[in-house]
């Protein structure tokens, strides 16, 4: 059980690095969603179901949706004002 926790912590570290290193915000929304799922599983393994519920709903659904909508709006604004 503890081995599983440690492996999950390692995966979360890798996931966070990937999200920060993805330069394109469109792609970052997808990696952020996967990272949110990894975090949710880690929180579940650390015996925190309440926190895992919050994290999966927010980090995998709400924030990537907002990021994608912001990316589309910014791209349209940039094209319009050039």
């Amino acid at each position: 059980m503890t081995a599983l926790v440690l492996i999950m912590i390692g995966l979360v570290a890798v996931g966070g690095t990937v999200v920060a290193c993805t330069g394109d915000p469109k792609r970052q929304a997808v990696t952020l969603s996967v990272y949110g799922l990894l975090l949710g599983v880690l929180f579940l393994l650390l015996a925190a179901p309440d926190v895992a519920l919050s994290q999966v709903a927010i980090g995998s659904a709400v924030v990537p949706l907002m990021v994608l909508l912001a990316v589309r709006t910014v791209r349209a604004e940039r094209a319009r004002r050039r």
Partner: protein, 115 residues
């Protein structure tokens, strides 16, 4: 092993801030702030974890008396997750306004923000 578990939390915070410093797009900056915040959740929950203990919810399968993990850090982390999502939304709204006023979201091109 404690160094590994807590160290990953501080690594996520530092990687998030490094992403902010190296960023070429303001939306990428906002997402990296979100990653840094998630590092603090990992540190909080790692502090509260106890090997062999279950979730802090008593019921028929875990009667009062079974060892549970620390609920105080979980209470802190879960309200923080929801509230920081709305703050991320506020930051994204600011980025949209910057794009409208200046036509660009590359931090190095935004002369008006220069200190």
């Amino acid at each position: 092993m404690s160094l590994y578990a807590y160290g990953v939390g501080i690594w996520l915070v530092l990687v998030g801030i490094a992403g902010v410093v190296r960023s070429r797009d303001l939306i990428h900056t906002v997402v990296c702030v979100s990653v840094a915040q998630s590092g603090t959740y990992v540190v909080l929950l790692a502090v509260g974890y106890q090997r062999g203990a279950v979730a802090p919810i008593f019921g028929s399968s875990s009667p009062p008396g079974t060892p549970v993990v620390d609920p105080v850090v979980q209470a802190m982390a879960l309200t923080d997750i929801v509230v920081s999502a709305t703050v991320t939304a506020l930051l994204l709204a600011l980025v949209i306004q910057v794009a409208k006023r200046h036509g660009t979201v590359v931090p190095d091109e935004l002369h008006a923000l220069r200190g």
